[in-house]
Amino acid sequence: MLSRFPRAAGAATALAVCTASLADYHVDILPPVTTVSTDIYRLHWSILWVCVVIFCIVFGAMFWSIFKHRRSLGAKAAQFHENTVIEVIWTIVPFIILISMAYPATRTVLAMKDASNADITVKVTAYQWKWEYDYQQDGIKFLANLSTPRDQIDERNGPGAPKNENYLLEVDNPMVVPVGKKVRLLITSNDVIHGWYVPQLGINQYGIPGFIKDAWFTIDTPGVYRGQCSQICGKEHAYMPIVVIAKAPAEYAAWAADMKAKMPAPAPAAAAPAESATQTAAAGGAAAAPAEDPNKKWTLAELKARGEKAYANCVACHQPTGKGMPPAFPALDGSKVATGPKAAHIAIVLKGKPGTAMASFAHLSDTDLAALVTYERNAWGNKTGDAIQPAEIKAARK
């Protein structure tokens, strides 16, 4: 028999929910800002209404039966057990409803696939655990790392720092695009499968290593749109967000010029391969101040200071203390690699260690790599006194 318990519990739960701020209880898809995401929003509401109507009919019949056709009310069981007409009806009617849903959905699928005639193209490369954006026509290329401080995240040794409003959804270098222009994305990955997912833009596309997939959007409203990696990619899967800022075209152009100026200068034409992964092949690039001269000689102190910042690329696994989390993530403090021959240390950072979680970091610049290897060899209890120069990294790449 049905007890009163579930009704009371249901009421208590509803009351508790209502007394809390209802604004914090999001129940809908985030506001769409492209034609595709608007289609998605509307399709969802359509299918939801279909489900609600069917729900009411089906559950109405079910609950009517539960309440009326019970022995305790004196019901006596009928013995019918088939009816071909009604079975045919309740097979055909759902079939027709489904066709009515499939038609608008098909139109949207075809629209989503049409990335032709884009105004700008951005190559998106996923890494464990960050995104790289390469605007090949504009000569801009940069990495976007999570910028939420670790002390807001890690509460395992006591309460963390208070979390800021964009906790886990903020990056150091957002992707900026012009409003009203068709942006085509070419998405791939450097290592494992990741997913570029920004719900308000209606995009959720896997980056698959060795393959390039495309997607497109045209944002109609300036603003900041946030997303996350949508395919499990290892330990920092939750910590590689995406931030897309849509600006008026003039502001976008200003941003692009500004970013271009910060790009490292291309290597001299006759020289060996480009100095770092942030080089572009674009001819006639702006003559930037050579911030990353591969032949510059740095002092140990300069390298250590720069390396402490570049160590941000290593800290998630090897920890701020250098103690790592053995056995999966070895300690660097006192390790044979970090206190032994330089060449082995450089090799492992450049090539990674297959069969483990240690990926290749060859995509960082020679200077950053030189700095962080120097830092690791001279931090915590390590006192090798080695100062690795960018030129050594460049030579080791060959």
Binding site: H26, I66, N83, F95, L98, A102, T106, V109, K113, A328
Partner: protein, 536 residues
């Protein structure tokens, strides 16, 4: 055909069963190690499934404890990934599937009037294989690198990077697959060859139908999974590059092969549930199952259609539009036979004479909540909507609605329904109802909010999340603990019943009409139907 299992009438005074009445059924550890008796093996499967369910459930509670608030409070992210992976593998391969095989072992021979399964020794081997497989999976936490952390779907290239635990998992999956394939061969042979005279295919209880169809699905797809994980193994250790573009391979190919197994797999996990519910509802409505023939055809159509929908797990891979569209249409189509079954169950209840003992509560709970899971599945089948919901918590909500309030509720209802037959004792009805209502509240509180989390864009398989997801996650975690702890009531009830419950009737449920209720006492004797009954 079944002369081996019939009582001999030409010289021997006693059949095998009567011999036991002189010596008693076997006992001790060797009874369980060497048993070829379908009832014993059914019991072994069910207790194994129960143990794995609590282990997997503990992992789930650890996951929900970490997700109670934003931030990392207890767990390393890589250990969290291992928990989600092994929770999935344990629940799918260790809890749900063995539980249904346990039901099949207990019920199929009795419901068709056979004395035992066709291959009793292979039956024993099918069960005992599960133990080393489970041990391998549990031990994988202890090796360097920790357990696999890729999700139960084991996608490369991530899984190629990970440690030896992945190889242990691959071996466990092979063993589990072998067990399932052997069990399915046994079930099909038994059903096709050992039905009592008069028990035509279209007179079999629907539970038997759902199991023969499930067994064909298992035979078709477990080898595919075996192939997929073997390719993972060779990519990891033997220099192949099936899934590595650098060697000419493609990670997407793994997804196609895996989900070609994976989609029929989820129907493998629900069709026996449909069968159980199709036994319980007519019994408590005191009315025959509505549209028996359509139910058989609907189950068969679902099974056939299940082979052409696998791409709906991969809508964000970047398949050409034609691929996405065909998979969308086929997936929407599968809603039709599923809907037919729901309507038939309601029509069975309609103008019945219902009482709501615990098995019926679980069956009705199944009907309501599995339908909701079906709706979220329909939402996900629409490709553009799936693009915004893929790998979010909306998907997690969907599959837990169909697997927990679907498959698990059917299993729980089935245990309450058949425990009197199996043990001869009646369970405590008040505790059963308490278990049901706490499970309903706990389950819905855990998983309904997850629809909202997915709609709001929260990804799955994450130990930490942005602040706008905090409120629903908190409620979900509270619900998880209510749901998880209330399963202990069930465990207590089952054990207390077996040890000292009230005596059960032969036909404990007046509306039940399958052979185990009409022809066999409670508890069913160690050997039954040694002489096949004639079904009029």
């Amino acid at each position: 055909m079944s002369t081996v299992t019939r009582a001999h009438d030409h010289g021997h005074e006693h059949g095998h069963g009567e011999a036991h009445e002189h010596h008693g059924a076997p006992y001790g550890v060797t009874r369980w190690l060497y048993t070829t008796n379908h009832k014993d093996i059914g019991t072994l499967y069910l207790w194994f499934a129960c143990t794995m369910f609590f282990i997997g459930g503990t992992m789930a509670l650890a996951i929900r404890a970490e997700l109670f608030k934003p931030g990392l409070q207890f767990l390393d992210p890589e250990f969290f990934n291992s928990l989600t992976t092994v929770h999935g593998l344990v629940m799918v391969f260790g809890a749900i599937m063995p539980a249904f095989v346990g039901f099949a072992n207990w019920l199929v021979p009795m419901q068709i009037g056979a004395a035992d399964m066709a291959f009793p020794r292979m039956n024993n081997w099918s069960f005992w294989l599960l133990i080393p497989a489970a041990l391998l999976l549990m031990a994988s936490f202890l090796v360097p690198g920790g357990a696999a952390g890729s999700g139960w779907t084991l996608y490369p290239p991530l899984v190629i990077q990970q440690g030896i635990a992945v190889d242990m998992t691959i071996l466990a999956v092979h063993i589990l697959g072998a067990s399932s394939i052997m069990g399915s061969i046994n079930i099909i042979t038994t059903i096709l060859n050992m039905r009592a005279p008069g028990m035509t295919l279209m007179r079999m209880p629907l539970f038997v139908w759902t199991w023969i169809i499930t067994a064909y699905l298992l035979i078709a797809v477990m080898p595919v999974l075996a192939g997929a994980v073997t390719m993972l193994l060779t990519d990891r250790h033997f220099g192949t590059s099936f899934f590595s573009a650098a060697g000419g391979g493609d990670p997407t190919m793994f997804m196609h092969i895996f989900w070609f197994f994976g989609h029929p797999e989820v129907y493998i996990m629900i069709l026996p549930a449909f069968g159980i519910v199709s036994q319980i509802i007519p019994a408590f409505a005191r009315k025959p199952l509505f549209g028996y023939a359509s139910m058989v055809y609907a189950t068969a159509s679902i099974a056939v259609l299940s082979f052409i929908v696998w791409g709906h797990h991969m809508f964000t891979v970047g398949m050409p539009a034609a691929g996405n569209l065909l998979f969308m249409y086929a997936t929407m189509l599968i809603a039709v036979p599923t809907g037919v079954k729901v309507f038939n169950w309601i029509a069975t209840m309609w103008r019945g004479e219902m009482t709501f003992e615990t098995p019926m509560l679980f069956a009705v709970g199944f009907l309501c909540l599995f339908t909701i899971g079906g709706f979220s599945g329909l939402v996900l089948s629409i490709v553009p909507v799936d693009i915004t919901l893929h790998n979010t918590y909306y998907v997690v909500a969907h599959f837990h609605y169909v697997l927990v309030s679907g498959a698990l509720f059917a299993i729980l209802g089935g245990i309450y329904f058949w425990l009197p037959k199996w043990s001869g004792k009646m369970y405590n009805e008040s505790l059963g109802k308490l278990h049901f209502w706490l499970s309903m509240i706990g389950f819905n509180l855990t998983f309904f909010p997850q629809h909202f989390l997915g709609l709001a864009g929260m990804p799955r398989r994450v130990p930490d999340y942005a602040l706008q997801f905090a409120e629903w996650n908190m409620w979900s975690s509270i619900g998880a603990f209510i749901f998880g702890l209330s399963q202990l009531i069930f465990l207590y009830n089952v054990i207390a019943t077996i040890r000292g419950g009230a005596r059960a009737e032969q036909k404990q449920w007046e509306g039940a009409d399958s052979l185990e209720w009409t022809h066999l006492p409670s508890p069913a004797p160690y050997h039954t139907f040694e002489v096949a009954p004639v079904i009029k």
